[in-house]
Symmetry: C2
Subunit: 470 residues, 2 copies
């Protein structure tokens, strides 16, 4: 609990209007997009600049008060649920695009900038920021950095990590450090930049980032390949890449997902096929045309029943938007939607899709599968109801089997959603006890009082999807 | 010093033939490519597999014996000079390409593989491993990983770090961990992969790496632009990039460098111009042709006196080889060659080139400048003689001024060579005391006995280019 004295000190730092602790405010920030995790913070604090963040961190460190940095709370790993109370740190005042540098092809931003706003601003200058998580309309760059967010363009362009040149970070001891810079090459010391990316706020607070931009591709084309056989679709994915073609986007949607997405978006998606691949390529016109020809051929060889190229940008955009709305569409069907992101090597996609089907049958749960097939990053999504305790236990077991299978195929428990509180009990499957120990040593070195987003990444128990309240 | 007992234990681990401690062997491994650093190790140990590395590390940790992992010793930061004695760890037995995975576009290697061998092996399969340090004919992948090596293709393709998907690492406590995998996306825990890359053997021993490959570009073209004005060349670099063209390679050589390189290679390089840019672009034919047209136009607008496109692959290869031989060529002129890698944002290249000229004049030292201009990564190279103490002091001051200037322009003290022992006294210029403290916390957490490549990265004193013997 926050004492009145500490609350006063927080108000002195950020101004009275930037410390909220009404019951309503605490409820709003008690959960994020992850089902089954809820816990009230003690207060919500909105700093106006880095110096204020530093003062807040020092104060919290002195009083052992947890700090949970939060963007828009769209993460799916309970990464921003304040499970040990403390303060939620909001960046609503630190939401500026500080500079777009057209000579160095960089953009410098504060954490509160909305991802899509950033993308659109740099596109006005003919520049391109590729990372595009499905939540980009509302997610913030700060959240993307803390979770190392992926997206639909990850196959060709990589993830958030690949676009960060430098950071300003407030460490748990209150020190403000700067890593990297507007530099294509920099090996001065350990790679602290990438250590903070994806560390989910457990090592420090990112207060500014310099991101790499690339020239806007000349053109882009979108196509849809339809299949009556899940595995044929998955095989096409592997074959495209083995043929040395790296499309921008290579998304997979199974029939149940297609049905609900079509019902939600009404754009005329086929619902009578077992699976579709949504494929995009960008680059110069000649290359895009050649790649699309080759991809079409591969898909037909692998028994696609039809391959259609979007004829207009409007049509292409509808397809992309439909794919991005998969989670929202699925969430309408049942009270609880659990979307995971077990990831395997690309070559194992067909095996993984099959295994997910079998596991769903084995535990008698409903799992729809879609996702970034080209990355081996699938989103098996379970439609369930938390009030049905018996079913929830089967859901839990089914996901555990899915994670196990992913590891068995050389994969990982999380491709882009992060560990947070949700996946912490499974992390040892991927890293082993020695890997987790190495991480704990870093955590302990930086944050000996465990004030930075406690209860995340490192599991305290075997507790999984259980509601926590404080 | 190694006791006879410990030597025996090492022999028991790796076999008698893999522990050398003759005076000749110790001399061979007492220095690397960095002038002015030399120190004898106590023994040279060549493990045959990861388990042996783990046993060696445990033994050394128990007895506080320094371990210096070493590839071919081509680094320029005294990163592999055993300045506190101990054992040099050689990977001559761990030099296999374990697997080229054509479905997942990955290659898995042991640290002792020669960089160029790897590049050539994957090219046979139509695949491409872009990082190409100038030393690639003899450098090892293990060395590249530990130093996060750059190269001539870094502008478009990035550096070693950008191609590492997973590592096997022996930690100072002897634990063997695996990070990442054949995975395009993986956010399970902290980014240990990138923490080890560029950590110069101070945090653990890399024993295996899975690297990302990309499809081989369809075609490649090389051109040479000649200038009578250094700054015009530098301005061309900035303007090409500001025009949204990212060439594969954008190298700069000044007149003194041109002269010695031509003298060394005899391929008919112009020596009567002030500077040249060596520019390469790869990709599909149409794009390469279009980019080269645009680049040619920009160079001519910026007063290039001529722009020539290599007519054959042989001619192009001669130009690249000439550039790669710059260090060897320069090294023939004077007894001591000191090559640095201060790096600035691309937009500041013209200012930096000018500043280097002024600093060389101010301290009356001979500095030739060449390097990866497109990355802002220059190699000011001083030709001197260590026996001339008075000149060496001026050289030291000149480089300090160059580092200061790079920082002032938003740059860094090292773009691709690493910190090692050589740059450790300057690291605070880039990171500040808080940044160095954060790094020290990690080092202390992983390696409390400071056995891993001690004396590197972290400065013990202000000692710079001074010969050390033990």
């Amino acid at each position: 609990m926050l004492t009145q004295k500490v609350k006063k000190q927080l108000e002195n730092i950020v101004g009275k209007e930037n410390v909220e602790d009404s019951q309503a405010a605490k409820l709003v920030y008690s959960y994020d997009a992850t089902p089954q995790f809820q816990s009230l913070p003690d207060a919500i604090v909105s700093p106006r600049n880095t110096e204020e963040v530093s003062k807040i961190v020092k104060l919290c460190n002195d009083h052992n008060i947890p700090i949970v940095p939060r963007g828009s709370g769209t993460n799916l790993c309970a990464g921003t649920c304040p499970i040990e109370g403390g303060i939620v740190l909001l960046f609503k005042h630190m939401n500026n695009i500080i500079e777009i540098d057209e000579d160095n092809l960089t953009v410098t931003v504060q954490p509160g900038v909305i991802t899509l706003d950033l993308i659109q601003e740099v596109e006005k200058k003919g520049l391109f920021y590729p990372p595009d998580p499905s939540s980009m309309k509302i997610s913030t760059i700060g959240g993307n950095l803390n979770e190392n967010s992926g997206g639909l363009r990850g196959l060709k362009y990589g993830v958030t990590r690949d676009y960060v040149l430098g950071l300003e970070v407030v460490l748990p001891n209150g020190h403000i450090i700067r890593t990297g810079g507007k530099l294509a090459k920099d090996v001065a010391g350990y790679d602290l930049t990438r250590l903070f990316i994806g560390s989910e706020g457990t090592l420090g607070i990112i207060t500014e980032a310099t991101l790499k931009l690339v020239p806007m591709p000349e053109t882009k084309k979108t196509m849809l390949a339809l299949y009556q056989d899940l595995e044929a679709a998955a095989r096409s994915v592997s074959k495209i890449i083995a043929n040395r073609i790296i499309p921008t986007t290579l998304e997979f949607l199974d029939q149940p997902t297609l049905e609900v997405v079509e019902d939600f978006t009404k754009i005329g998606l086929p619902t009578n096929v077992k699976a579709v691949l949504l494929i995009e390529q960008d680059g110069n016109k000649e290359q895009v045309d050649r790649d699309l020809d080759k991809i079409q051929k591969i898909c037909l060889e692998e028994s696609a029943i039809s391959v259609q190229i979007a004829q207009t940008e409007e049509e292409a955009n509808e397809l992309r938007t439909a794919r991005r709305s998969a989670l929202s569409a699925l969430a309408r069907l049942k009270p609880t939607t659990i979307l995971e992101d077990a990831t395997v090597p690309r070559s194992e996609i067909a095996k993984m899709v099959k295994a997910i089907e079998e596991i769903a049958n084995q535990y008698n749960v409903r799992i729809c599968t879609f996702g970034h097939a080209g990355d081996g990053n699938l989103h098996p999504t379970c439609l369930t109801d938390v009030r049905d305790q018996e079913e929830m236990e089967r859901v839990e077991k089914a996901f555990e089997a899915i994670f196990q299978k992913a590891i068995e195929l050389g994969g990982t428990i999380t491709g882009e959603h992060g560990v947070g509180a949700m996946k912490a009990p499974y992390l040892h499957l991927k890293l082993g006890e020695s890997g987790i120990l190495a991480m704990k040593q870093i955590k302990q070195a930086f944050d000996p009082n465990h004030i930075m987003n406690p209860g995340k990444v490192f599991a305290k128990s075997e507790r999984k999807r259980v509601v926590v309240t404080s």
